[in-house]
Amino acid sequence: MKINILAFGIAKDILDGQTKEIELSHGNDVKSLKQTLCDTFPEFSKLRSLSIAVNEEYRNDDYELKESDEVVIIPPVSGG
């Protein structure tokens, strides 16, 4: 299954763009998406808080994704 990702912050640098299509290879839940991201872009595994929002809501690892979902990655930023 393919998922379209919208990235913010440092995730945009890691994915080299604000949007990216990701082919899920482990399963269809949020945990599998995180795993795929870490496998494909190892920088993600360094970020200890990798929060994923699906359809405008933060989701736990067991949330099942659908192809039409809007998936947003928001890493922390600290600037002031």
Partner: protein
């Protein structure tokens, strides 16, 4: 009754608030009775302090230990060139009281630390977090949770901003999610650049800081729907905005203030030290007539701001241009503060076996401060 609370001058000043049916004299009374602690008087603090002051918040506290630097003026609109080198907190107070003499301002000219956090926070109703690093962000959050204060959070990076109301009071008396519900663990040091490292669009903190002030005013007056349990994201480059629901994380437990530097990994697994040379020893070397090479690993625009005649090889080009670096004599490598040059030395030692490289401690900034005062810092 109102006449006793507000002077005619104040009523005239706030007349545009008083004219709004949803806000009126009741909202203005709440603002006057409220106290807000603004932590960080920088990019976000500048607009939020200006608008909270203008709006008539009765008591504003400012926490900032820093002084005004010329490179702040690209976005920190509270300050002018006359303020360079002066205390931000004191300068901000003087500027803000000129804008609104009807309010009280308390200055906390010190770093916000686990030692003073709870003591400072206890005198205020609402906290506005405009700090610039992860350890202080977690500290502000935890201190607000422990003190049962609302934390109006804002943060910026390049073209992007985040705003949220953490630990907000809900209708049933319980508290909404906090920063740790959103980001339980901090990123490792160096992974997410600060504004100084990664840059920031000057107007961005103006936009985001004004939104932060708006949330503070809503919390105080009860007008509108504050961003409790929601995170607002803004990308100024693409004009993308999102409001995302943030649930509480049942595993979040905050029971005391901790060592936040340690929590954020600062001082742990630091990269290995390299050979260094102090700015004074470097000056002696310069004047001695001994042969040496000076390499500058900053970007070309930085070289144009200030340089000490080093050979320019930006850090990103160091692998491609390493043959320009001499192996037979002493080589001093510098950047702005000494961080990038240390990275360059580790890379050159690891990949090419250099053993004659010395890092200029504190970089060109320290050289300008301690040796050659005619040079500018940035």
């Amino acid at each position: 009754m109102e006449k006793q609370l507000f002077s005619p001058a104040e009523l005239a000043r706030y007349s545009r608030h008083l004219a709004m049916p949803e806000f009126n004299i009741e909202g203005q009374k709440k603002l006057k009775a409220a106290s807000v602690l603004v932590i960080g008087a920088g990019g976000l603090g500048s607009p939020s302090l200006l608008y909270l002051t203008a709006a008539g918040v009765g008591h504003i506290g400012i926490v900032d230990f820093d002084t005004v630097d010329d490179s702040n003026l690209q976005r920190q609109v509270l300050y002018t060139v006359d303020d360079i080198g002066q205390s931000k907190a004191l300068t901000a107070r003087d500027r803000l009281l000129k804008l609104n003499p009807h309010i009280k301002i308390t200055v906390h000219q010190e770093a916000f630390t686990r030692k003073n956090a709870l003591e400072i926070i206890k005198d205020y109703d609402v906290v506005a977090d405009g700090t610039d690093n992860f350890p202080t962000r977690y500290l502000v959050n935890d201190a607000c949770v422990l003190s049962e204060k609302v934390n109006v959070y804002a943060s910026i990076f390049r073209f992007e901003g985040q705003v949220a109301v953490f630990n907000g009071q809900l209708a049933d008396g319980s508290r909404g999610p906090n920063y740790r519900d959103l980001f339980p663990d901090p990123p490792p040091p160096g992974m997410v650049p600060s504004c100084a490292e990664g840059g920031v669009l000057g107007v961005l903190p103006g936009i985001i800081g004004a939104m932060q002030a708006n949330e503070v005013i809503k919390i105080i007056t009860g007008v509108g729907e504050p961003l409790i349990g929601r995170l607002f994201l803004f990308d100024a480059a693409s004009f993308t905005t999102r409001v995302l629901k943030v649930p509480k994380n049942p595993s979040t437990k905050i029971t005391e203030l901790i060592d936040y530097d340690q929590f954020c990994g600062i001082g742990i697994n630091e990269p290995r030290a390299v050979q260094t040379i102090s700015v004074q020893a470097f000056e002696t070397l310069r004047k001695s007539g001994d042969d040496y090479q000076l390499i500058d690993v900053r970007e070309p625009y930085e070289y144009d701001i200030v340089n000490i005649a080093g050979t320019l090889i930006p850090l990103g080009n160091i692998l491609a241009e390493y043959t320009k670096i001499d192996r037979t004599k002493k080589v001093v490598i510098h950047c702005r503060t000494g961080k990038r040059s240390a990275d360059a030395i580790r890379t050159l030692e690891d990949k090419f076996g250099f053993n004659n490289l010395f890092n200029l401690e504190g970089g060109v900034n320290k050289y300008a401060e301690e040796v050659d005062h005619t040079l500018s810092t940035y």
